[in-house]
Symmetry: C3
């Protein structure tokens, strides 16, 4: 069947997806965004009621709930495994844990881990589908996809758009996933933020600039969360909003149709002035809604056949 | 449609409900109490499978499970957010958390919090329905409703009944909700317990008396839990059962058709002699069963349209 | 109806089950093992969508998920109560907790506890079905059943098989359940391991021997997990694999059709050489799969009528 050519076992890195595959996911994401309460899933499934396990080795609330809700809306069964609190996993490798869930009948494992590279290593050794829900500072592919979806909904295309990504680009899997995905579609990316947070290697479609230069002419502004739990940055944070954040002065200079994005949770008054969160050109809550929609699309893809 | 005139967005305080609305809820609660395994929900829904989130900032087992079970029996999707353990909510306001769940597609948030007044403040700012599952020492409206239901099942009416509420009335949201609800229906309320636990302001249908006077002629006896986690009361507790609790001597003096209630969990041998929990005129487990039934009714109301 | 004669209220100890009842469970387990995604449950139910609560007073990941998945595949509602973290249960007895869940409408409680004997004591006092998910060092009946199922799938029968159980037999509820169940069906059992881990009383079909003697001629080898959290055994563990574990030398001497079993989670390199986990005669992951299947059978039995 034709649909089987679209089926993927795993979704680990956006860079492994063709633009055709990404467009297919965005189309399905659009369907679910427009029909969040539809009970009709177009894709044939390998089993009637697939089972997913949320396997989070790092704390997460919204990503886990987003996957859980996406799965439940599709009629899947959901197991939530808070791996941080489990005594059982002590000394057990991720491979052994996954083989056990696979034997139980779990079809898809949603995994967040600090260990970069481990999912790529294990994926070929197991039958269960692996979906990367955030791995180290590396990639967070469903975040990249939901951001693409949000931008495409706005502009109808991705090619040629000017996207500013502001903040801790170096340690942000959100930024990294967006750079990978946007680059595939020919967007021009400007990065800005404290110098020590800028990446050391960049591609030709990416440039590092000042915050104000990055915002100038930007079609899309992506503000990154200051991850204060990762940095000892008290001094920087004191002036962060004025130095690097999206304050009202910078906001007033944006083009009329520029959209403002943030992966959330946001720190009001640090990387973004709290009053801007719900301005008419903010797409921050649209991103949250698209997160559920795109995860429905990803789950469909990994369980179609 | 007529049903829409009954729909409420939120259930925050019982005092905001008309007696007509309360009677409607009690009628539906009676239906679910009589038909706990019915799969037919009479009320049209805004969406086929509403989503609720249990958002508990204070520990609770039975109230959370009661809501979870009520929702599942109605075919709703349930997300359980143990807000105490979440690192994500650190620094995030309740408003921001609710807006995020709303964007995800959550229809109803069941909230327990220590902050009194916050739900009333946020409710008009969000589209998601808010149901108060206990706020500070203030109100616990579904507990009040399930207690009304239990009493109405017994006596067929609420007007004119004599209700004794014994214990830490001042700090009990259970007591407060019952006083509000019973007063609407014209019950006469006697409060008793240690002096420092009596409220400072009472209405004309309420009186403060000794435990024995309160029990005399009572149709309904509500024993409150001694919240030892809130009080340093070791000395008082040593003699609590004899001084203020429902012991066998006091129990023997009750009228034949008096019913005994307790919101649970109970402390056997402190506010109530353990042997009385399952006496034929105890309605303690009936209250638990009614809790699921009334929460089904409340969820229906907030998701009807 | 005939089916009602098969219905059990509780499953607490395997020794209370007749071989006929066990065979019935194994037959249904076989059905679910062969048809893990069937949505047809043959057994009439007391209610359309039974409710189970997982009530675990000791940590467990795989047993809890196995029951949860079994229940969800049958279309049951599942409440997960992590009793270790609950403040509500402080001071509340298991009896009171169960009566509360019963009043809520829970049909079956899956319980893991350290208190041996408590389930037998409470079962006659409550209407909710009790399923023992591990009680102290005593019994773990669903583990025993899934092991029987795994062996029967292999050999077609249980009578006359030679089964070696190696490790901490004395403190293992897995071993104890298997000894009880296998003995009912006429298997010959050899126990081996450190002397202080051997039971003090054994039946006539059981013998204690050296590891190598136990493995010689064994049809089935069950390796037990070294429960290092229960023992201060550092010295013993250093040489455990060579002294008592299943290493490659011992493995090479097994008969061709001998199967290797382990209740998991396993300690690679302690009680079993990690390379042997996925050898062709290992049934370790088959046991995990059978765990879900047999628990579906047990849930059906306790909710049929």
């Amino acid at each position: 069947m034709a649909i089987q050519t679209k089926m993927r076992k795993d979704l680990i890195l956006l860079k492994d997806l063709s633009t055709e595959e990404i467009n297919h996911l965005l189309d399905r994401g659009d369907f679910w965004a427009d029909n969040p309460n539809s009970t009709i899933s177009s894709a044939p499934r390998t089993v009637a009621n697939p089972v997913i396990v949320n396997l989070f080795f790092e704390p997460s609330t919204r990503t886990r709930f987003s996957f859980e809700l996406a799965a439940k809306k599709l009629g899947y069964h959901v197991l939530n495994f808070d791996a941080r609190n489990s005594s059982t996993t002590k000394g057990e490798t991720l491979y052994d844990t996954l083989r056990t869930f696979e034997a139980m009948g779990v079809n898809t494992a949603i995994i967040r881990t600090q260990e970069e590279g481990i999912l790529q290593e294990i994926a070929p050794q197991v039958e269960v589908s692996l979906i990367n829900a955030g791995a180290g500072a590396n990639e967070h592919p469903t975040q990249g996809l939901l951001d693409l979806l949000t931008i495409r909904q706005e502009f109808g295309h991705l090619e040629g758009l000017k996207v500013a990504i502001i903040g801790d680009v170096k340690h942000s899997r959100v930024a990294n996933s967006n750079i990978v995905a946007l680059s595939k579609f020919g967007a021009a990316i400007s990065l800005a933020g404290p110098e020590q947070w800028m990446p050391t290697e960049i591609d030709s479609n990416v440039q590092i600039s000042s915050v104000d230069d990055a915002l100038n002419d930007a079609d899309v502004v992506m503000m990154l969360r200051v991850q204060s739990e990762r940095h000892a940055l008290t001094n920087t944070i004191d002036n962060y909003l004025e130095s690097y954040g999206l304050n009202k002065t910078r906001f007033a200079k944006l083009k009329d149709n520029t959209i403002v994005m943030h992966p959330a949770p946001f720190n009001r008054g640090i990387e973004i002035d709290g009053d801007l969160i719900e301005r008419s050109n903010s797409r921050i809550y649209r991103q949250v809604a698209n997160g559920v929609a795109i995860r429905m699309a990803v789950l469909e893809l990994c369980n179609a056949g």
